[in-house]
Amino acid sequence: MQLYSFWLPKQGMAPHEYEDALAHTGTGAWPVRCAVADGASETSFADRWAQLLAEAYVAGELDGPDGLPVLQEAWWQAVQGRPLPWYAEEKLSHGAYAALVGLTVHPDRTWQALALGDCCLFQVREERLVHAFPIDRADGFSSRPFLLSSRRGWRVAQADLALARGEWQPGDRIYLMSDALAAWFLITAEQGRRPWDALDAAENDLIHLIDRLRAGRALRNDDLTLLRLEV
């Protein structure tokens, strides 16, 4: 099993302004867990929230109903307590928001995934896209997604949480990615092409592929995160 990850801030932004996050257990033991989260850029301290969510998923801390309140408290403790100007105080009261997709791969050749928002999972088998989750059409993206909130007391309804299960075969590739790359992936696949080939071929030089796609407006300028698992 091989695991590869890549991230890049929005063009024009510094690395410390990157607000996506990724986390994984590594591939040394079962189950293998990995996650990608995307902090909403119009909210503040969203990078911290995205990181907390991705790490909590991987640690199994989001498996039960008590996981989210604990994380919301952790976010609040991390960001409060310092004197802030009026606008930062106001923004902080809105909370941070993030999308999350998490994947757990089991040794019995099954996997399960959880998602809220527009971070996506794609499973490719023998040059065919066999699973797209939770968004399966390129026109399913918007700049106003429903996201996980860090506000204490905010609860996620089961109906808003997307869950999926699947099976894997040796040689399958499973990709987790944040929304801009996921939208490009689905558009390309809908055009009958194989976006996974472009990503795999450029693995050592992904930054140039991304630059080219952004320059040609094929890829929206946004923070970008990719995690690829070859099982």
Binding site: G12, A40, E42, P85, W86
Partner: protein, 278 residues
């Protein structure tokens, strides 16, 4: 295709507010006893500025996605900021954030996240005070805006074009403003023409009309004239408005009768905005 330029710190956009400060703004707003149009307008403009700042605020400070100006027209035509920003035409949004004339403390009821409401103290910054004095030199205000924004467009040829929001009770006293408005709307960047939106504050007891696509239903000649002066909302803005739950017909114009235009701030994207953030 116009109106697609990404708004960023290296490629900012611009909001210019034109504020009617004429003597007639002393009149009641919407027939409501005790509430003057000038006071309503001061609240609207302070809320607009506050919302713009908060939209651009991040944990490390405020990102300069916009330059902003407030031009008043009444006894005089000129910059209307009070406090440290007084006398300046266009300032960066971070300067607006850090230099309000004063910060008042108010209370509001907010969602407690569990289905109830709690009272919360909030800081309410003020950059602009109510003024009502003199005539309504709207033609001069449009000309002043053109002068300021011609330079801005020359300096920012690739930016999303400026948005001008004119707020008035509708009666220009220095002539027909049509020509001055058309001349202003002719300004452009590579991304499209300047957008001129109008807010009509009327004494008539008529409910708010937002972004109409025709003159039918507008209550008087001044409203109809301001509607005609208003730019069409670009398809890009209408699509974001639809995502915000506000469906608009093709041909909808940037015109609001007896309301505010705070929602327009959300029609311009600077990043992901959660649909459940309210």
């Amino acid at each position: 295709m116009p109106y697609i330029a990404e708004i960023s710190r290296s490629n900012p956009s611009c909001f210019l507010f034109l504020i009617d400060q004429s003597g007639s703004m002393m009149d009641n707003w919407g027939g409501e006893q005790g509430k003057r149009k000038a006071d309503g307008l001061a609240t609207i403009i302070n809320r607009l500025l506050q919302n713009l700042v908060i939209k651009c605020a991040k944990s490390e400070g405020v990102r300069d996605y916009y330059e902003v100006g407030v031009i008043g027209y009444g006894l005089q035509v000129g910059p209307a900021f009070v406090g440290e920003l007084a006398g300046r035409d266009l300032v960066k949004i971070s300067e607006i954030a850090n230099l309000p004339a004063r910060v008042e403390e108010r209370t509001r009821k907010v969602d407690d996240g569990a289905g109830g409401l709690v009272e919360q103290k909030i800081k309410f910054p003020v950059w602009f005070d109510a003024v009502a004095n003199g005539g309504t030199p709207m033609c001069q205000a449009f000309a002043r805006a053109e002068q300021i924004l011609a330079q801005w467009c020359a300096d920012h040829p690739h930016s999303f074009p400026p948005v001008v929001i004119n707020m008035t009770d509708g009666e220009a006293t220095d002539g027909n403003p049509t020509q001055a408005a058309e001349s202003l709307k002719a300004l452009a960047t590579n991304d499209g023409n300047l957008l001129l939106f109008n807010v009509h504050l009327s004494g008539a007891q008529v409910a708010t009309i937002q972004f109409p696509s025709g003159e039918e239903g507008l209550p008087d000649n001044y409203a109809r004239q301001l509607f005609r002066l208003s730019s069409d909302l670009p398809e890009y803005m209408r699509s974001i408005a639809a995502q915000e739950g506000l469906e608009m017909a093709s041909g909808s114009r940037g015109f609001v009768f007896n309301g505010d235009m705070v929602s327009v701030i959300q029609f311009l994207d600077i990043g992901t905005r959660p649909s459940n953030l309210r």
